[in-house]
Structures are given as C-alpha cells and as structure tokens.
C-alpha cells in the first residue's frame, strides 16, 4: 500500500522540509538546553546567601605607603551594622597558619598549592548545617571552593591535555589540607560542598578556623581586611551606594556573571524563538507535502475505501510514514545535539563557567511539544481528508 501511495513523490520538497525540521530541532534543542543551564548557573552551587557580599577597602596609594590601613576597626564594623539597610555584618576570619592544598585523586595529576582559608558565620551561607558542621573528631572537613580556583585548576588541566572538570566531578575530588609548619604539621581530609564567586580564598567552617588558628597559627597575626555584609531584601542598591561613599569595594564577579547570564539568556532566547519558528514552518511544509500526497492519491484512497478498507487503516498508513520520517529527523537532531552539547560545555568550562552535565528538561519538554504538535497536525489533516472521501 505504501508503494501505491508514495509513488508520486517529489523527493526534493520532502528532503528540504526534513532538513529544515532537522536544523530547527537541532538549534531548538541546543539553545533551550543552554538557556536553562545558563539560567540555573550558580543557582544551586553558589554558597553565599542572597543579598550577601564581601567587602574590602579600596587599595589606594596611601595604603601602599603604610599611611592608611586596609584593616577594619571595631568602630567601622559597628558603623556598617548600624545602617538601616544592613541586615547583618561580620568580619571574615582568615588563617594565621600555613596551608597547603593537595589534590590526591586519580582523576587529575598531583596538585599542590599554598592557599589561604577564610570563614564566615553560618548565617551567610546557603549550605545545609549538617554538611557544614565540623568538630575535632570529624574525619572530613567541608570546604567551599572559589570559582577562580576551579578555573585556574581547569586551565592547568587543559594545558596538560587532561579533560577539564565539571562542578559535579570536582565535588567528588579527594582533597587534603596540610596545615602548620614542618615541625608541627597535620593533614586534614577535605571535601568540596559548594562554590562561590565572592571570595578568592577557600571557605572553611568557623569552628575549624578557630581551632586551627589556636593550634597552628601565630597569635595576634589575624587581620580583618574583609567583611561579609547582608543587605535587607530589596535594599541591595542602597548598600552598594553606601559602599561607594565609604570607598569600600566588593568583588564584582557576581554582578558580571549576572550580566553575562542575562546577555546569554537573551541571545539564547532569540535563537530558541527563531528555531521554533523554523520548526513550525518546516512542519507546515511537511503538512503541505502530506496534503499533496493525499490529493494525488484521491483515486487510490476512494477505491480502497470502496473495496472495504477502513478509513482508520488508511490513516494509519500515512501516519506511520510521516511519524517514522519525523522520528528519524528528531533522532538525528538529538544525535547531533549531543556532541554539540559536549563541545559547547567544554568551551564554557574553559571560560570558567562549569554547567551542570545532565540534559535539560526544557529539551524534553520541547521534544514532547513539537512531536505532539506534529502528530496532531498530521493526524487531523489525514483524518479530515480521508473521512471526506469515505462517502464519495
């Protein structure tokens, strides 16, 4: 029966429509996937709470000459706390002992680096308390990794021709912190629980820092050069204005990422819309092609119905053909999407943006929507035509 119906095919039109559908679906899948991933970037892994920033004094020539201090006095901290738009403000504590970070994991080559660690009070972090608890008996120390550090590590891996690490892989890395001097040294096993763009040092629980400073640090060496400030909801602007007036600065990375996310989202949204339009137009061409086939087979359809074939069976023949065609095109678009996804993901990682690895549910939603639309349109067109022919 397929031979009977599809003998008058103009393959050129079919190939063009299929190619259009393929390209439309490919760009739709790719843009929607990355739109979703970019939109969610940093949402689940950024550990500093909403409206929270880290501030420090602006570096001026005076401070370089030792004429002005980059430290915060208790009075200055109290002044920030007293502002009506500030919900809370606390000093960021730093290590007064030597720390070496060592990555001891088969995934990457041995890696050692002198680092700084800092701590902020729990209330500023979006991390579940049980994951951030530490006491002297704990076997693992939870740490929050600055994204700058992750980017540096990925650059190192890339230069060594080793695959770069995504957020999920980094979370599983075995890390040791060697603290203290050669004479009094201890190895602490650590595990990354999240990431931050706001700090350049590794964050550790406050209990650990107090304990380590007491046992391995140099007394009276601790300086308070950074504060963590949380503004009240909707008053972040006032806080930024105040910081400017007081010649305080915050790390702009969150702002840059927000701008980058917004620009990329707009771009990807436009691509998604154009892709969706391309898919609609291609489906329209395929429907027109179906109608052409139905018109050319008017005699065949009428005769088969007169011989006693059921309209439903004839509808099935056309449905099977077009659904199979659409399935092949869709699977091809999905197969093309996968390498494109890995390639683009790698490009993002190289630029310090580590996106979640799983396929976005936006893609599944688009797949379901476009497939349903196609099947429904084809079914209705065929049904209308064949049932119109039944009694003629």
């Amino acid at each position: 029966m397929k031979q009977l119906f599809f003998k008058y095919q103009n393959k050129k039109q079919l190939v063009l429509a299929s190619l259009g559908t393929f390209l439309g679906l490919f760009f739709l899948f790719t843009s929607l996937h990355f739109l979703h991933k970019i939109y969610n970037y940093g949402e689940n892994t950024e550990m500093l709470s909403k409206n929270t920033i880290v501030v420090q004094k602006k570096v001026r020539s005076g401070s370089l000459l030792g004429l002005s201090s980059s430290e915060f006095s208790n009075e200055e901290i109290e002044e920030v706390r007293s502002k009506p738009f500030v919900e809370k403000c606390d000093p960021i504590r730093s290590n007064t002992f030597k720390v070496v970070l060592q990555i001891d994991d088969p995934l990457i080559p041995a890696f050692n680096s002198d680092i700084y660690v800092q701590s902020v009070k729990k209330g500023y972090l979006d991390v579940k308390t049980d994951r951030w608890d530490w006491d002297e008996k704990s076997e693992i120390l939870p740490i929050i990794m600055p994204r700058d550090f992750l980017m540096m590590m990925n650059n190192f891996l890339s230069a060594s021709n080793i695959p770069q690490l995504s957020d999920n892989l980094v979370l599983d890395l075995k890390i040791n912190l060697k603290i203290g001097t050669r004479l009094n040294r201890e190895t602490i096993h650590a595990r990354i629980v999240g990431f931050t763009n706001e700090l350049s040092s590794i964050l550790v629980p406050e209990e650990f820092l107090i304990w380590a400073n007491d046992n391995y640090g140099e007394p009276d060496k601790e300086e308070i050069s950074q504060l963590v400030v949380k503004s009240k909801d909707g008053q972040f602007g006032l806080l930024e204005k105040y910081l400017d007036e007081k010649e305080l600065e915050s790390k702009k990375s969150q702002l840059i990422i927000a701008k980058l996310k917004s620009a990329l989202s707009v771009l990807l949204s436009i691509i998604s819309i154009v892709s969706l339009l391309t898919v609609f137009l291609s489906i329209l061409v395929l429907i027109q092609y179906l109608q052409l086939i139905l018109t050319k087979n008017d005699y065949e359809i009428r005769t088969l119905l007169r011989l006693g074939h059921s309209p439903r069976m004839l509808i099935k023949v056309f449905m099977r053909y077009f659904v199979l065609l659409f399935s092949i095109v869709t699977i091809s678009a999905l197969l093309a999407f996968l390498p494109a996804k890995y390639y683009l993901q790698d490009v993002f990682i190289s630029n310090g943006i580590s996106l979640e690895d799983s396929i976005s549910y936006y893609l599944y939603a688009a797949l379901f929507f476009v497939s349903s639309l196609f099947v429904f349109s084809i079914l209705m067109s065929t049904k209308r035509r064949i049932f119109k022919t039944v009694n003629t």
């Binding site: 029966m1 031979q3 009977l4 003998k7 065949e300 005769t303 088969l304 119905l305 007169r306 011989l307 006693g308 074939h309 059921s310 309209p311 069976m313 049932f387 039944v390 009694n391 003629t392």
Partner: protein, 212 residues
C-alpha cells in the same frame, strides 16, 4: 442480507414520469435472489449502485440494508458492509493501473482471511489470462481488465455481488466463462446478485429482471 427501497428516486428525476420498477416504487431484494436490472443509458444505473454503497445521497425516499436506513449506518458499520457484505464490479473497474494483476487482487482488505492467492491465479487460468498475473494492469486491454475486476470481486467474502455492466467488453465465450465463475462463487458464498446491464437478457440461471 436484505435490501429494501422505499419510493427511491434521484433528485434529477423527481418531476419526470418514469416507467421503472425501482424508482418511486417499494422493492425488496434478498441475498437468495439474482436480479438483472435492465437499464438503458441515462436511467440512473451508476447512481443506483452508488446509492446502494452509500456513496451518494442525492435522492428522495429511503434505502434499508437489513432493516437499517442507510444514512443511519455509521462509517465503521459501512466499512464492514463494503469489506464482507457487498462486493462490486464497478463500470470503470476501479483497478490500480500501476500495480500488477496479482497486487490488485492481494490489496483486498479481507484477502488474508481464507482467500488464497492461488485461487485467484486459478480463476485467471479459467478466464484465459493467467499469463497476465505479474503484468501491470495499465498494460491490459479493457476486456482483460474487466476479467481482473470480476476475479477481484470474487476473491472476498460477500452476501451480495453487484455488477455494473461487467461484460460490456467481453465476447460471448468469455462472458459465458465469467458467468459460470460468478455462479460458482455465488453458490459457495450463498450470495445474491444484482446485475446492471444494457441488455434485457443474460445467461445466469433463475434471474429475475427489473426495469430501471
């Protein structure tokens, strides 16, 4: 199966005086009967067949199939009637020129249900066109096509066989062979026959003639 026609009349004949034993009459035909409907050109022969098959409804009066008014029969029920109740040899034959004789026959919906292709092949032998089995129908003469259409109509279950001028392009010898084949299948299926033709006579046994 049983047909009943109540005051049936095509719209185009509505204001005409007709000398017909079917139009504007009450007629019943059962599947134990063979009826020759003698119809000269322009008396609505093809319309009559189309009305019976539910393909047109430009008429007044009513047609009942097994007591059910034809317009109230739904698509599924009519599909069943067309596939297993009525078999038809259309005047224009309704064959597929691009398919072979074999494919034209095996395309029947009920074909798989007990009707083997070799029976059709044997029938082709009975009608002297067995060598056309694998040939495309478009390459056959009209007389050969008529024989293929007759064989196709016999290769399915039916309670009524309706033939619209099935022998118009056949010689007497081939007409006799076709008649014998049809008689045999009518007997096997215990089916009735409605034969529409330009002639007043035919070689079927025990056939009743009606004037259209």
């Amino acid at each position: 199966m049983h047909f009943k026609f109540e005051q049936l009349c095509p719209h185009v004949f509505q204001n005409l005086t007709l000398n017909s034993s079917i139009w504007n009459k009450n007629v019943e035909i059962s599947n134990d009967e063979k009826i020759l409907i003698h119809a000269i050109s322009g008396t609505g022969k093809t319309s009559f067949i189309h009305y019976l098959l539910g393909l047109r409804n430009d008429y007044s009066g009513a047609i009942y199939i097994d007591g059910k008014e034809i317009s109230s029969i739904d698509v599924d029920a009519f599909t069943k009637i067309r596939s297993a109740g009525i078999s038809t040899v259309f005047q224009d034959l309704q064959l597929f020129d691009d398919l072979t004789v074999k494919e034209n026959i095996s395309i029947l919906p009920e074909f798989a249900k007990g009707y083997e292709l070799r029976h059709a092949y044997d029938m082709l032998g009975d009608l002297d066109i067995v060598e056309k089995w694998e040939q495309k129908v478009g390459k056959l003469s009209f007389g050969q096509k008529q024989r293929v259409a007759i064989i196709r109509s016999l290769m399915k279950p039916f309670q009524f066989l309706i033939c619209d001028e099935p022998f118009s392009h056949l010689d007497k010898q081939n007409t006799m062979k076709c008649t014998a084949l049809i008689e045999k299948r009518l007997k096997e299926e215990q089916a009735g026959l409605i034969l529409l033709g330009l002639e007043k006579e035919c070689s079927f046994n025990n056939i009743k003639t009606l004037q259209l």
